[in-house]
């Protein structure tokens, strides 16, 4: 007889795969996030007058602000599609641990964010002749920051879609809680762009890891309470 309940990892993979496959076919979300990112950078370009001298100090900040904004767009959308046609109820009925749903959604959200970053970063480098962002350390910080942002963002977006104000509420809930991860990422990646020695960026990097661990664990534990009906 076949096993009645699928394994945890299989369930996580199935949910992430479903999201990625749907996105790969429609490309609605990614294209919106990308165009939005471009627009934010365009606005920053004129708002901050990104000449060579200014760029030195604000590159990390501009990039992280862009990713944070684009990220909320993705988070909102990815939970809204689950809610709209009762998909979430279907997922909740599946005989798997609820945290598998969390990890599945978090992985697909992270994938969207990383794809956007993978396109925006080279573009930014090309536009501003900024090759210092192609360092392993910079990309590592980008990954760590995105993990922290997405882990708490996935949890909060699952909450905000169930409220009356929906999309409006997500950034208001998410940004104050995500302040540590954004600031630590800006500090660490800014240090890398400025060419500081590795020891100097160790402090924000450590805090980034601490945040990631704490919030992944917490979100994993309390996701149950957010989706129960």
């Amino acid at each position: 007889m076949k096993e009645p309940t699928p394994s945890f990892f299989k369930a996580v993979f199935a949910i992430a795969h479903k999201d990625l496959a749907a996105e790969f076919r429609s490309r609605e979300l990614l294209s919106a996030m990308l165009v939005f990112s471009m627009l934010v950078i365009l606005i920053f370009n004129f708002a901050l007058e990104l000449d060579v001298k200014v760029r030195q100090s604000v590159t990390a900040g501009v990039l992280w602000t862009t990713f944070a904004f684009a990220g909320t767009l993705g988070l909102n959308r990815s939970m809204a599609v689950e809610k709209d046609r009762g998909c979430m109820d279907g997922l909740l009925l599946a005989p798997v641990d609820r945290s598998a749903i969390f990890f599945g959604k978090a992985i697909s959200n992270l994938a969207f964010m990383l794809v956007v970053e993978a396109i925006v970063i080279p573009l930014y480098a090309m536009l501003y002749n900024e090759t210092r962002i192609f360092q392993w350390e910079f990309l590592g910080v980008l990954l760590l920051g995105s993990i922290g942002y997405i882990s708490v963002g996935t949890l909060l977006s699952a909450m905000s879609v169930q409220t009356r104000t929906r999309d409006v509420l997500l950034p208001i809930l998410l940004f104050p809680v995500a302040v540590p991860v954004l600031l630590a990422s800006v500090k660490a990646s800014g240090g890398i762009v400025a060419g500081l020695p590795f020891e100097e960026i160790l402090a924000p990097l450590n805090l980034l890891i601490v945040y990631d661990v704490i919030f992944l664990a917490t979100s994993f534990m309390i996701f149950d309470y957010v989706v129960e009906e």
């Binding site: 949890l155 169930q162 208001i172 809930l173 104050p176 540590p180 704490i214 309470y225 957010v226």
Partner: protein, 232 residues
């Protein structure tokens, strides 16, 4: 609804007397600070309100956890009361700090770790109320509120640690760095006494206000039930 308990009435009276005494200690009893002068007297209430503000947020996060475990609505009322009273006290702290900062630092505001953390924390709890306002079902409202209070309580200390990497000029009250920071000062015995009087007075006031708010929460629930009954 039972009538107002005796203990609460006593607490009310005590908190009125307490705030009066604390005002006396802050304005008359405490010596004038040598460098900053009389404006430093705002410090006693600044620390008092900040203390109860922080205690309230910890209480809220803990009662959020207890609610999620027990699913008892009384803990939700407890949590809302703590957040609501603390948000107000914290706002007063920020305003008083601003009044002090203007002469001491020559600016109303600076992006120092404590100030920034205070601002972010305040924003978290404003978001908390917006979240609650967007949900009709009481049970779901309580659940989401508890989750968010917990997340806020977790992220605030990390925010503080992260911003400390940027810069600081805020004096540390407990610890050694006190006099070195700009606007810091060494406290004399009388100043310390005044500070503790103010801490005590605000703690009593806080408990009393929270109790009132919890009772109010109970009444709110009753009204909601009655409304439901009438509409059926």
């Amino acid at each position: 609804m039972q009538s107002k308990p005796m203990a609460l009435t006593i607490l009310d009276v005590l908190s009125i007397i307490g705030i009066g005494v604390a005002t006396y200690f802050a304005l008359v009893y405490a010596p004038t600070e040598a460098v900053m002068g009389n404006v430093q007297r705002v410090f006693y209430f600044h620390v008092g309100t900040a203390w109860v503000g922080l205690v309230g947020f910890v209480v809220a996060a803990v009662s959020g956890i207890v609610y999620l475990v027990t699913k008892d609505m009384r803990w939700d009322r407890f949590e809302v009361a703590a957040v609501e009273v603390s948000t107000m006290f914290f706002f007063i702290t920020i305003v008083l700090g601003s009044i002090w900062a203007r002469p001491a630092w020559n600016t109303w505001w600076t992006w120092d770790p404590r100030l920034t953390t205070a601002a972010v924390t305040e924003l978290i709890y404003i978001a908390y109320f917006m979240l609650r306002a967007g949900i009709e079902e009481p049970e779901k409202r309580a659940r989401f509120g508890a989750v968010y209070a917990l997340l806020g309580g977790l992220s605030a200390p990390i925010t503080f640690m992260v911003i400390r990497l940027f810069r600081t000029i805020h004096p540390v009250v407990v610890g050694t760095a006190s006099a070195e920071a700009q606007g810091g000062f060494d406290m004399s015995g009388d100043m310390l006494t005044s500070m503790f009087v103010s801490l005590g007075a605000f703690t009593i006031l806080f408990v009393s206000l929270m109790w009132h708010r919890i009772r109010l929460g109970g009444l709110e629930e009753k009204v909601e039930e009655l409304k439901l009954k009438v509409s059926m």
